[in-house]
């Protein structure tokens, strides 16, 4: 069992948990992920590592409560434990040769974009962060991202905070303005990563995206997380999760990630039943 030692609600749907997992904390690096399972009946769900503390032996994850498993996880409190927590999985992000980088985060993807910016900043690389949110009330990690970037640009779709517009608008303007990025790291919803990759392609700027497809084991064994990159089948769990955004077939990934949508809706019902049952057991 893995104990929760800290919990923060970052906005109404995004939660931060710090979990005791000394073996994982010992080895974790930016860009890698873990797989959690809340209890015996639960699914295995991958989440990218947001932070780690090797001395305390803890790993931090930040997630949006969108499906049954993330809702169950979000219902856990400090002192509670979850059944399984395995990692670190996947290949860590390669920063070699980077001098000036734009880190682009979209929504809850900022939870993963932030540690990338932090790691680059620590290596002495010049980092600009462009963070995009739908609206003011879901902005997360603003101060943290500011602290590790030379320039921080906050974008909202509705203009309620920062500038009105999409991250791609800002990125294009910065590139056109001569920002001179050698690399762009984009992490967020699939459409955002797709359009960031399309935006950088004409300029030939290396673009790294972090993919989060459906997977079971995270060790290359199920093949569920296969994505087409440069026309070849790759397993996001062992070959990724980072890939060259100019080579990824985003439309295929979006289609594959929709596989259990109907089941999700059905489970939302079951979830209520299970939550009620758990509540009754507590009383």
């Amino acid at each position: 069992m893995f104990r929760i030692v800290n919990k923060k609600e970052l906005n109404s749907t995004v939660t931060l948990l710090e979990i005791e997992a000394p073996f994982v904390a010992r080895k974790a690096q930016a860009g890698q992920f873990i797989i959690f399972r809340v209890d015996e009946m639960s699914e295995r769900v991958p989440l990218t590592i947001a932070d780690y503390d090797r001395e305390k032996g803890t790993v931090t994850i930040i997630f949006q409560k969108v499906g049954l498993s993330t809702k169950l996880l979000g219902a856990k409190e400090i002192g509670d434990s979850i059944q399984d927590f395995v990692g670190p999985l996947g290949v860590a992000t390669e920063y070699e040769g980077m001098k000036k980088v734009a880190v682009v985060g979209g929504g809850v993807g900022c939870a993963i974009a932030y540690p990338q910016a932090k790691a680059l900043h620590a290596l002495g690389v010049e980092v600009d962060v462009i963070a995009g949110f739908r609206s003011k009330d879901i902005v997360i990690l603003e101060d943290e991202m500011k602290a590790v970037s030379s320039n921080f640009y906050l974008m909202t779709d509705d203009g309620t905070q920062g500038e009105k517009g999409f991250v791609t608008d800002k990125l294009k303007a910065l590139i056109e303005g001569g920002a001179g990025y050698d690399t762009v790291i984009a992490i967020g919803p699939i459409p955002m990563m797709k359009f960031v990759s399309l935006a950088t392609k004409p300029y030939g700027i290396k673009t790294i995206v972090s993919l989060n497809p459906i997977m079971i084991d995270g060790t290359g064994m199920c093949g569920g997380c296969r994505v087409t990159v440069g026309g070849k089948i790759k397993f996001a769990c062992v070959d990724g999760p980072d890939f060259d955004g100019h080579e990824v077939d985003f439309d295929e990934l979006m289609n594959r990630n929709s596989v259990y949508k109907a089941r999700e809706a059905e489970l939302a019902e079951t979830h209520i039943c299970r939550m009620e049952k758990l509540a009754q057991e507590l009383i």
Partner: protein, 462 residues
């Protein structure tokens, strides 16, 4: 006087049209009377041809003689002196190509039902006198076992009995490897596997789940930082192959590993589990091995109206156990033999809606000795299916070999070992099972695990 019946005593089974709707065990096992009667068919041949067909050399005529005398305890002792997992092997070994293929009775009529008798003895023991073993006195030496499939269980068991402090590192949340994620409940009840694992725990084996070796710890760290004196690698052949045909990325296309893991390990067939799986009407399973039969029979049990096996050679070349092919047919699985898929069709919404196949003819024998299939030009046709399961083989996982210096592998990514000792190209590091041989059988993996345990014992006593 031996029972001279030409046929084996039939083993009671659930009826096909009943069992293809549930996940309970298909074969129900012999009663004591049936076992004794079948045991009397054994001629107790002096030269024991059957034993040479067994990868772990179970003393077959000896245990059968005990069964014939109704001394099931004595039979159990004979079997377990060389085979630690008889309840598993009695169910999943391909006896027809091993022990039973050598049986003298098989020359005229059917071989003695060695597998069924082994299963009977193991089940009888579990039901009647299943005491847990005790932890032997420690010899102070530590051995790490990576993976918890059949080779690892056999290796860990033998080492623990010899007094070693054994730790098993398993990547999944549950121990058992292919016995829990791959082979379905209806062929190998998980309670049986769990019992074997509980026995290891009773022997003092420490089982650490959620540990992906090569990621969370390297083999070198296991030895240098954690102080293990030797390591056994039994990580199996877990990487699924795909055909690289158009449409394999469509929704509704699974590897057999994913399909079976969702069902067997993650219990997608039980409503109280959250695991999602596609609700299929028609399923094509590509391949002809045991895994393909398992996937097809699972699909049927999950409610698919039509389930097809698509295999590029003929039935004779199918690597699956005879009994599995027979059971699959009885349960209503349709076989499209000498057919090779060329693409999977898209319904326009990114979902699989059919599989296009090409008819094949058998040509000259290939390197494997089996006649190789040759496509018949222009014979394409489409089977309407909403789900395709690719079951065309697996290869060893590169996680360990790519993170451990000095571990040599062959062209196929299998670990190279000394055949006598199962030692890898690194001193103190041993390996066995599918990680060495590529996809093979449970019993071969167990045999390798035992051999490695013996060699590790010798190495550490030096």
């Amino acid at each position: 006087m031996a029972n001279m019946s030409l046929e084996k005593i039939k083993m009671p089974e659930q009826k096909p049209d009943v069992r293809n709707k549930n996940f309970e065990e298909v074969a129900l096992g012999y009663t004591a009377e049936m076992a004794v009667e079948e045991a009397q068919r054994c001629l107790n041949c002096k030269h024991k041809p059957c034993v040479s067909g067994c990868p772990v050399n179970v003393r077959i005529p000896e245990f059968i003689a005990e069964v014939a005398k109704s001394d099931f305890m004595a039979a159990y002792r004979v079997i377990t002196s060389t085979n630690a997992l008889p309840a598993v092997c009695g169910r999943v070994c391909p006896q027809e190509s091993q022990c039973e293929s050598k049986c003298v009775r098989g020359m005229k009529g059917e071989a003695v039902a060695i597998g069924r008798l082994e299963r009977f003895v193991a089940d009888w023991y579990m039901a009647n006198c299943d005491e847990m073993p005790e932890k032997p006195e420690s010899n102070g030496k530590k051995v790490a076992v990576v993976g918890s499939g059949p080779s690892s269980l056999a290796c860990a068991g033998d080492l623990a009995k010899a007094g070693y402090e054994v730790t098993i590192f398993e990547a999944f949340h549950k121990a058992g490897g292919v016995l829990v994620y791959g082979i379905p409940e209806f062929r190998l009840p998980k309670a049986i596997v769990q019992k074997e694992i509980d026995k290891l725990s009773a022997l003092g084996v420490n089982i650490m789940t959620n540990m992906v070796i090569g990621k969370v710890l390297s083999v070198d760290e296991i030895i240098e930082d954690m102080g293990f004196d030797a390591v056994f690698i039994g990580t199996g052949a877990g990487l699924p192959s795909f055909m690289n045909i158009p449409g394999e990325a469509l929704v509704g296309v699974y590897s057999a590993n994913e399909y079976l893991t969702r069902i067997n390990l993650m219990k997608a067939y039980l409503s109280e589990y959250d695991t999602p799986i596609r609700k299929s009407k028609a399923v094509a399973v590509v391949g002809g091995g045991n895994v393909a039969m398992d996937a097809a029979r699972c699909a049927k049990r999950l409610g698919a109206e039509k389930v097809y096996i698509v295999y590029r050679r003929s039935e004779k070349e199918m690597p699956a156990r005879l009994e599995e092919i027979h059971h699959a047919k009885e349960e209503g699985i349709e076989f499209h033999l000498l057919r090779n898929p060329v693409r999977i069709l898209d319904d326009g919404n990114g979902q699989a809606c059919g599989i296009e196949c090409l008819k094949m003819e058998l040509g000259e024998p290939d390197a494997s000795g089996r006649r190789s299939p040759v496509p018949v030009e222009g014979s394409n046709y489409v089977i309407d299916v909403d789900t395709v399961v690719m079951s065309i083989g697996t290869s060893p996982n590169p996680l360990i070999r790519s993170t451990t210096k000095g571990l040599e592998t062959n062209r196929k990514g299998c670990l190279v070992v000394n055949e006598e000792t199962n030692q890898t190209t690194r001193e103190g590091v041993y390996a066995g099972g599918d990680a060495v041989t590529g996809a093979a059988t449970v019993i071969l993996a167990m045999g390798a695990g035992k051999k490695a345990a013996e060699a590790i014992d010798k190495y550490l006593k030096k």
